[in-house]
């Protein structure tokens, strides 16, 4: 006889687990079903090579909502975020500060190194430019102001502007009022952030090319856009969100890898009474008279009944993979078909027997303890994107390298290291002449290693093991459609009240009692947990329950 639950959550990614925790917290009998043997979806730690544990996909945490850490008491459940300090941008021999100083460094190879110590960063920038140091201070203050204004948006449920019901518009009214209270210059900067390209936006302040290139990189992470594409400026803000949460510690790597976050949330959910099953792939959602009434498990064919079903899968997998054809109206299906994924990022995980040695700053110093950004110039960033536009992976890709073993030695045997490389661009749809990613996987891996060797000769020889995750691999393993790490492109037309479809940005779906709680919903991707939390609160509100 089928078991019965108040709520079933499909998918044990961080959002699914957050939703489950909040539902259980409100006293609902909640079940989480994860297809894999590990919890976490794209936030998992796995031992890909004996003795080396990797954050296989997602590798840093910067946006995990503090209210979630607090309300679910995640530290008690083992969440420990180790801070990363600074961003190191190595340059090739000959590249150096523009303008009068260039002769001082010509031929030696230079670098740009920003650290959490503001004063040191300013001094470093003065080395490059007479004005960028001052501009950086002004810029930083402005961004913090902006982040303070934007933050509430991440926490509201998007209204449907085309409905006459004014109530959902109220939070928008509040936003408009707080917008009106901003000084005009800040209003203008906010508009620019929402509409400009990262490169154009930064051009207004800075002249140092590697600085603009490295900062603008945060605007293209996970997108199929270049640093000169309108709409990429907004993400620059995310780097300042952490600060206003009262600690830059919000940016770092979880002890034990990103799986550490998933396990902490999972343990919190269990403690609150939720039941979690792994290796339990869901076949489809049971729909009766237009309402979701439960799910069917793939392997056993077992039916599990529930009052509400939440899917943390992306919109396409939920609506086209989990429902009988014909359940949805053609118009809605068309909207979901239009929702763009187009994964553009790859991941290269490596085990090495020594640390990389950069010509720009030889030796194993502090500069390796933060992010190492392969972004020497804005043009090189944009050229990497040009390749992707025509279905090629970047010949000279942008790489965000982290060496987690420097802050968490438990991840590898003594003296050895784990290296995590987030890489763009690796377009999911390759040009026909390239064939499939199964043919290009290692060629892509080689391009990444060669790129690193440009700045750290000898790196190749240090590699003990290499694991290349193409968008196709990400899709196969985690189920993320087209390998898009945000469950759908974070382009302007796919944000807020358009995410995932106009009229359905409020976590509800056309099928009654079926809800979305993953990154396909507002406010989008990244290890934020906001989607899972807001979705759960919406479900509880609709059931007239208190969030406890």
């Amino acid at each position: 006889m089928a078991e019965r639950y108040d709520a079933v959550v499909i998918g044990g990614g961080h959002n699914g687990l957050v939703s489950a925790a909040y539902l259980a917290r409100a006293g609902m009998k909640t079940l989480v079903l994860e297809q894999r043997h590990v919890l976490g979806g794209a936030a998992v730690t796995e031992e890909l090579y004996p003795g080396f544990r990797f954050s296989v996909f997602s590798y840093v945490v910067s946006l995990l909502r503090p209210e979630i850490i607090r309300e679910l008491q995640l530290p008690r459940h083992g969440l420990d975020i180790l801070p990363l300090d600074g961003t190191f941008t190595p340059l090739r021999p000959g590249d150096g500060p523009k303008g009068p100083r260039s002769k001082d460094v010509a031929g030696t190879g230079d670098y740009l190194w920003r650290v959490n110590d503001h004063g040191r960063t300013i001094r470093e920038l003065r080395r490059w430019s007479a004005t960028d140091g001052e501009a950086y201070e002004e810029y930083g203050q402005l961004m913090v102001e902006m982040a303070r204004f934007i933050k509430p948006i991440l926490g509201i449920t998007p209204p449907d502007l085309t409905r006459l019901d004014p109530r959902p518009l109220l939070p928008l009214g509040g936003l408009l009022r707080s917008f009106q209270q901003l000084p005009e210059r800040q209003q203008a900067v906010f508009v620019q952030l929402m509409t400009m390209s990262a490169a154009d936006f930064l051009d207004q302040w800075f002249e140092t090319d590697p600085l603009k290139a490295t900062m603008s990189a945060s605007g293209i992470i996970g997108t199929y856009l270049g640093v000169r594409s309108p709409g990429t400026a907004y993400v620059l803000l995310h780097h300042y969100m952490g600060e206003i949460d009262g600690a830059f510690r919000a940016w770092g790597i979880p002890k034990g890898g990103t799986g550490g976050i998933s396990n902490a949330i999972g343990s919190a959910a269990r403690a609150l009474g939720a039941e979690i099953r792994t290796e339990a792939p869901v076949e489809r959602v049971l729909v009766k008279d237009g309402r979701a009434v439960g799910i069917v498990l793939r392997d056993s064919g077992e039916e599990i009944r529930a009052d509400v079903v939440l899917s943390s899968l992306d919109a396409r997998r939920t609506f086209f993979g989990m429902l009988e054809p014909g359940t949805l109206e053609a118009d809605f299906e068309e909207d979901i078909r239009r929702f763009k994924f187009r994964g553009s990022s790859g991941k290269v995980n490596m085990a090495v027997d020594r640390l990389p040695d950069f010509t720009a700053l030889p030796g194993a110093g502090e500069h390796l303890r933060g992010a190492i950004s392969f972004s020497p110039s804005v043009d090189e960033m944009e050229l990497a994107y040009d390749d992707a536009k025509y279905g090629q992976f970047s010949k000279k890709p942008y790489i965000d390298m982290i060496i987690p073993t420097l802050v968490d030695p438990t991840l590898a045997p003594p003296g050895k290291h784990v290296i995590s490389c987030f890489v763009q661009y690796a377009p999911y749809h390759l040009a026909p002449e390239l064939g499939s990613w199964d043919d290009q996987r290692e060629a892509f891996g080689d391009a990444v290693v060669d790129r690193i060797a440009e700045f750290a000769p000898g790196f190749k020889d240090s590699i003990l093991f290499r694991n290349v995750q193409t968008p196709l691999d990400i899709e196969r393993t985690t189920g993320l459609t087209e390998g898009n790490i945000f469950q759908g492109e974070l382009t302007l037309e796919q944000l807020f009240f358009n995410r995932p479809a106009p009229g359905y940005a409020r976590f509800r779906t056309p099928v009654r009692d079926l809800w979305l709680c993953g990154s396909s919903t507002h406010p989008g991707g990244g290890i934020m947990g906001a989607n899972g939390r807001i979705a759960a609160l919406e479900v509880l509100r609709s059931l007239g329950r208190r969030a406890a």
């Binding site: 502007l161 210059r185 209003q187 508009v191 594409s229 309108p230 944009e382 536009k389 037309e493 358009n498």
Partner: protein, 537 residues
């Protein structure tokens, strides 16, 4: 010595929007003077001379001019005659086939069947959508953007009106417009059509004259704006003024004069004079100073604020914002006189007929994008995208004094960035090398065209800046991307035609709803100036 010639309003610049504003102001009895730096009026809407015939120098068609402007100012009585050929776009392909978009939708659909039945069937729906969204944007364009800072009753009314038109779109279209406005035009056309060359023929209007490629976000808004307030639809408008675009400027000038406006050419304004943050008049290159409580700039906002207003008056923040207003020009103009009508392979002998609209050399979405890629790095496109017209086909008067068979070909070529990575447009042979490239592209599609050229002129983005006063050589007075749009065109807080100096107004393409020959900014600005002057009384 200046007191005796005090005016109510001084209009700086004699481009089409400036003339529209001057005419509307003069009609209410205001003493208005228009000051044009050059020897003749019209700015980008002028008819020039080349090899003994008359050619549209920059703009070649005028189909976006707002009907309300034509009517209010009675431009037909002042000599304006418009011709709209029944072909809108002819897009010949290297393989000898062509996409042809006609004013007559059914005819377009028939032609598309040869390419794709699916696309032929999709076209009417797409045309309807573009018209519906364009109509909404036309409503938006005719309104003054609301005041964000301190909304008044008027703004509330505007808001309501817009809200109503918005809901009037219906649930489906209102959803659609929210979704597509910020979208890349390549994605927008791909939602409707499968044929790449058809996608390109339509998407082109989303990047024309902009530092954008079809894959750039926001290009859909430009496409829809192009069809706003005219009969464009999916095909886009193609309307010629008899006598060339200069004839439109002459009609506008005649209307302004008839209404009592004074118009002076060879009168360059070197400064907008202000005391205590309030304009008092302008200073001319001649040393002469003219007084007026209202100064209206028909120049682009950057030139107006950075070049003509005293930095102390403007203040550092506003000057910073004005200096960062984006004006990256990418258009060069190549005008040709040919001794015979070109024979396009894809026209299959129908040249007489199909060449009357816009001729488009944009052989695919990626082809346009690749042409754009060069511009991002300060290089000119290896294979520029071209939009050409042959106005002498519909307006033989242009070549009346030339031997039979002579025609004029007016070509806009993209991408030719104003700021070049290496050197300048002044370098010997640079402009001609680009023009050769342009002619070569056409010669592939119309063999023999190159040999038929008897006269040629090249207008580079640098010429646009120097001769026409367009900062950065930008024909639209600045990018029309999402960051310089509606409430924030040219800047948030200055979108209501009032610039940050009391009594100083902006009436041209740098203001909402932006560039192109529409007369809309001029009409809107005049309305705001008049309402302010009422309030003052």
């Amino acid at each position: 010595m200046t007191t005796d010639r005090a005016y109510h309003a001084i209009v700086v610049g004699g481009g089409h929007n400036a003339l529209v504003t001057a005419a509307y102001l003069a009609r209410t009895g205001k003493r208005v003077v228009v000051l044009e730096r050059r020897g003749h009026l019209g700015g980008a809407a002028e008819t020039g001379n080349l090899g003994g015939v008359r050619v549209p120098r920059l703009a070649d068609t005028v189909g976006r001019i707002r009907p309300s402007v034509v009517k209010d100012l009675d431009l037909r009585a002042h000599g304006l005659r418009l011709v709209a050929p029944d072909v809108r776009v002819f897009a010949p392909q290297p393989d000898g086939r062509a996409i042809t978009l006609w004013a007559d939708q059914a005819r377009t659909v028939d032609g598309l069947r040869a390419w794709s039945t699916r696309d032929a069937d999709a076209y009417p729906g797409f045309d309807r959508l573009v018209r519906s969204l364009g109509t909404f944007l036309a409503g938006l364009a005719a309104e003054t953007p609301p005041d964000v800072k301190a909304p008044g009753i008027g703004d509330a009314l505007t808001g309501l009106k817009l809200g109503r038109t918005f809901r009037g779109l219906g649930r489906h279209d209102s959803h659609t417009i929210l979704r597509v406005l910020p979208m890349a035009v390549a994605d927008f056309v791909a939602e409707a059509f499968e044929t790449d060359v058809l996608r390109a023929a339509i998407a082109w209007r989303g990047v024309r004259q902009s530092f954008l490629g079809p894959w750039s976000a926001g290009s859909t808004a430009i496409l829809l704006g192009d069809g706003a307030g005219n009969d464009g639809g999916a095909a886009g408008q193609t309307v010629f003024a008899i006598g060339g675009p200069g004839a439109l400027s002459e009609a506008l000038a005649a209307a302004a004069r008839a209404a009592g406006a004074e118009i002076r050419t060879d009168a360059e304004v070197t400064a907008i004079v202000a005391h205590d943050n309030r304009v008092t008049g302008v200073a001319l290159a001649s040393g002469e100073e003219l007084l007026a409580p209202t100064v209206v700039s028909g120049l682009d906002p950057k030139r107006t604020l950075v070049e003509l207003v005293d930095p102390v008056t403007l203040g550092p923040t506003m000057r910073w914002r004005a200096a960062n207003y984006r004006t990256p020009g990418v258009v060069a103009k190549v005008n040709l006189v040919v001794d015979r009508l070109p024979r396009f392979t894809a026209a299959a002998g129908e040249d007489e007929h199909v060449l009357r609209g816009r001729i488009l050399a944009a052989p695919g979405i990626d082809a346009i994008e690749r042409a754009f890629d060069h511009a991002k790095y300060g290089r000119v496109s290896e294979t520029p995208v071209l939009e050409a017209t042959i106005p002498s086909l519909v307006d033989p008067g242009l070549v009346a004094d030339a031997p039979d068979g002579t025609h004029v070909i007016s070509i806009s070529a993209q991408y030719a960035p104003h700021r070049l990575r290496d050197g300048s447009w002044d370098d010997a042979g640079r402009a001609d090398a680009f023009a050769d490239r342009v002619v070569a592209v056409l010669d592939v599609l119309a063999p023999g065209l190159a040999a038929s050229v008897t006269a040629r002129e090249v207008i580079t983005p640098l010429d646009l800046e120097r001769d026409y006063g367009l900062t950065g050589g930008h024909p639209l007075h600045g990018e029309q991307a999402l960051d310089q749009f509606f409430l924030w065109r040219p800047f948030l807080g200055s979108a209501r035609y009032r610039l940050p100096v009391e009594g100083l107004y902006l009436c041209a393409s740098g203001a909402h709803p932006g560039g192109g020959i529409t007369g809309q900014p001029g009409q809107n600005a005049a309305r705001e100036i008049l309402s302010d002057s009422k309030r003052r009384r």
